[in-house]
């Protein structure tokens, strides 16, 4: 692929992310009516849930790249998997922060240890935060790539547990977003806004992933070049 085409794609991706997120924010604040039970604070959901789903997508992408590495032994997948975990952790921090803000306004507390959904997401986040400790405790090379890939693959098992925890949990503290229950069902405007914000977050994650990966590749090549020249 030519450099100019790649640059155009990067600009297109970044522009789409900005437009979708601006549109999603405008829809959330000016189009969607207040939710009957949650009121105005329900608007946090239009960012919080897409951010959480995006972090799951990043961790899933990291696991896919890790699997590719273990399958093909091509070292480029190591950097791709690492970058996806990096993005997942950033979106994980945002999930915890926006969730805490919602918890404060809804429950009156920044964090509730009794909610299994919150604790499970924190466990998932800490698991991936520990990925960096593992990665940087091993010297660069195939051994580090394999260990990191196996770790990223193990972590993906936590995603369905964390995702389904709202339904499995008996605490009934954390709201269920998608439900057949008539009282909890999203209206057309709420669902449309949610989808626009989800598309925006996924595109933002794609943009950041692409930029970060390019930066890390350039960094690695410069290091090789320096070693060759010195």
């Amino acid at each position: 692929m030519s450099t100019s085409l790649r640059n155009n794609q990067a600009v297109l991706l970044a522009g789409s992310a900005a437009i979708l997120l601006l549109a999603g924010t405008a829809l959330a604040f000016y189009w969607v009516p207040n939710a009957p039970l949650e009121g105005f604070r329900q608007r946090i959901f239009y960012y919080h849930v897409p951010i959480a789903l995006t972090s799951y997508a990043c961790f899933g992408w990291a696991a896919w790249k890790a699997l590719r590495l273990l399958w093909t032994r091509e070292q480029r997948y190591d950097l791709e998997s690492y970058t996806a975990v990096h993005m997942g952790v950033i979106f994980g921090i945002l999930t915890l922060v926006t969730g805490s803000i919602w918890a404060r306004t809804s429950w009156g507390h920044w964090w509730v240890w009794g909610s299994r959904q919150l604790v499970l997401f924190l466990v998932l986040f800490l698991f991936y935060a520990a990925y960096f400790m593992l990665r940087y405790s091993v010297d660069p090379g195939p051994r580090r790539a394999n260990l990191s890939a196996v770790y990223a693959l193990f972590g993906v098992a936590l995603i369905p547990v964390s995702f389904l925890a709202i339904r499995l949990a008996a605490d009934l503290v954390h709201p269920v977003v998608f439900s057949h229950d008539v009282g909890n069902k999203l209206t057309a405007s709420q669902f449309t806004t949610f989808l626009v914000c989800l598309a925006g977050m996924l595109t933002l994650a794609g943009t950041l992933y692409r930029n970060e990966l390019t930066g890390k590749r350039v960094d690695a090549r410069l290091r090789e070049l320096r070693e060759a020249l010195e």
């Binding site: 924010t25 009121g39 105005f40 604070r41 608007r43 946090i44 960012y47 919080h48 951010i51 950033i90 921090i93 945002l94 922060v97 926006t98 803000i101 919602w102 404060r104 306004t105 933002l204 950041l208 930029n211 970060e212 930066g215 350039v218 960094d219 410069l222 070049l225 320096r226 020249l229 010195e230």
Partner: protein
């Protein structure tokens, strides 16, 4: 502005702040890469001259 409005706005602003912080950090990284490219170009030039 009600308390719910303040918290909802804060949640959106936090996301914006984190994205902006990321852009700033990335700008520093790009500046470092640019500096390294310049150093390597100089090194390559010196080697060619020698």
């Amino acid at each position: 502005m009600s308390s719910a409005e303040k918290y909802a706005t804060a949640a959106y602003l936090v996301v914006l702040a984190v994205v902006l912080l990321y852009v700033v950090l990335y700008a520093f990284k790009l500046a470092r890469l640019e500096r390294e490219v310049a150093e390597l170009a100089e090194l390559a030039q010196r080697r060619r001259a020698a």
